[in-house]
């Protein structure tokens, strides 16, 4: 019934697709993006093609094995259930490449794969350690933050993002980390709101462990100052983008994202006057929301999909 298509996280969905191990053949568009990402020119590494192609082949090997495993299990391709195939063997190989090549920007794809697909494996913890100790000062760490905070991030991920927003030597990394913090704070606020609805409590508890749960509750109690953080981002983030452009959408700047979020906090809350909408209806005739003043309006953002 409810479709969580979090617009701000569309980047993340796209990135998750790039690093996903879905057994179904990836869409051509995504494939293009993936090959662009891996062929990105760089001047930092002595063996860029080597690392990129090693990462690509490890991931491909995993995808083929996962697909074969699923086909054997279900007698045909099934798109949804690849999670059952163990991620650790792939994560172990990727982690080895990461640790051998800490300076190479091409390891970003391997890091993102582990962050997205191996959340319950030992390698996830070790990648976070690597990010904290060996990759912290890299400008390329910006490219792992959207994946790091996707879904329900754990405390170590949140702490890393927090620390980067204050101490990264790169302005763009600071801005991306600050935006990532804001998004994670929103996730936590929403999580706790649903947790407090009796109907949802058990379901929400099944998504995260008890340590993370306590961390979310404490974080929400501290009342993050969304407005001033967003205002600061609007003033300072310039033309920095949050993530690479995916799914044919233009890449939004952090400035635009922060402006939209701030508008929402200031004008789209219960008790505030509804912003007017002027547009055309399905027949092309212009009208406005304000035309209906005096009546109760149920405004339904819908789509027939």
């Amino acid at each position: 019934m409810m479709i969580f298509a979090r617009k701000k996280l569309t980047y993340l969905v796209g990135i998750a697709l790039l690093v996903s191990c879905a057994p179904a053949p990836p869409e051509p568009k995504v494939q293009t993006d993936a090959s662009e990402a891996t062929n990105k020119p760089n001047s930092h590494s002595s063996r860029p093609a080597n690392v990129a192609s090693r990462v690509a082949s490890v991931i491909q090997e995993h995808e083929l094995a996962a697909r074969a495993y699923e086909q054997a299990r279900h007698g045909g391709p099934k798109e949804q259930e690849s999670a059952a195939f163990p991620s650790a063997p792939c994560a172990i190989k990727l982690l080895a490449i990461i640790e051998e090549n800490p300076e190479d920007p091409e390891i970003v794809r391997a890091i993102n794969w582990i962050l997205a697909n191996a959340r319950n494996d030992e390698q996830h913890r070790r990648v976070i350690e690597f990010l904290n100790n060996d990759f912290f000062e890299s400008e390329h760490i910006a490219e792992v933050l959207p994946v790091l905070i996707h879904g329900y991030p754990d405390q170590s991920s949140l702490n890393l993002v927090q620390r980067l927003s204050q101490h990264s030597p790169h302005e763009r990394v600071k801005a991306v980390a600050t935006m990532a913090s804001v998004m994670a704070q929103q996730t936590m606020v929403r999580f706790v709101r649903f947790l407090n609805k009796p109907k949802w409590t058990e379901r929400m508890k099944s998504f995260i462990d008890s340590t993370t749960l306590r961390h979310y509750q404490t974080a929400v109690d501290r009342k993050f100052d969304f407005e001033s953080t967003l205002q600061q981002l609007i003033n300072q983030s310039g033309e920095f983008t949050f993530g690479p452009s995916v799914e044919g959408q233009p890449s939004e700047t952090i400035h635009e994202m922060a402006s939209d979020m701030l508008f929402s906090i200031q004008h789209l809350k219960v008790g505030k006057p509804a912003p007017n909408i002027t547009g055309t209806d399905l027949d092309g005739i212009t009208f406005s929301l304000d035309d209906y003043r005096g009546k109760i309006v149920m405004l339904d953002f819908w789509g027939d999909w």
Binding site: I3, D260, L282, K295, V297, M298, L299, D300, G303
Partner: protein, 108 residues
């Protein structure tokens, strides 16, 4: 969702209540035909050819579909929800109408 909305339209036809949609399908011709076919009689803004990434849903920071707002007769936002749970909608529409002196029973 559609059937609930059709019931509301039926039950509240003589009350100061309207449903307005913001449609986020990218093809206007197609959705106009679907709306006719499925008898969706209320008016909708069209969010433009960018579909879900169109200007109205972007301005309203929509993060999931459906998202519903209830706006009172003075234009103040009184309720907001993601997802089509009808219980809070019926309850709040009833109380907003009561504020205007209209007693309705939306239990089915």
């Amino acid at each position: 969702m559609y059937s609930h909305e059709q019931l509301l339209v039926q039950k509240l036809t003589d009350k100061p209540f309207v449903i307005l949609g913001v449609n986020s399908d990218s093809n206007r011709e197609e959705i106009r035909n679907i709306a006719k076919q499925k008898n969706l009689t209320w008016r909708s803004f069209w969010n433009g050819p960018e579909g879900k990434f169109g200007p109205i849903s972007k301005r309203w920071n929509i993060e999931g579909w459906p998202t519903l707002y209830l706006i009172d007769s003075n234009g103040i936002i009184r309720h907001k929800q993601m997802g089509g749970d009808t219980e809070p909608l019926d309850r709040i529409i009833t109380s907003l109408l009561a504020e205007l002196g209209h007693v309705v029973d939306l239990s089915y």
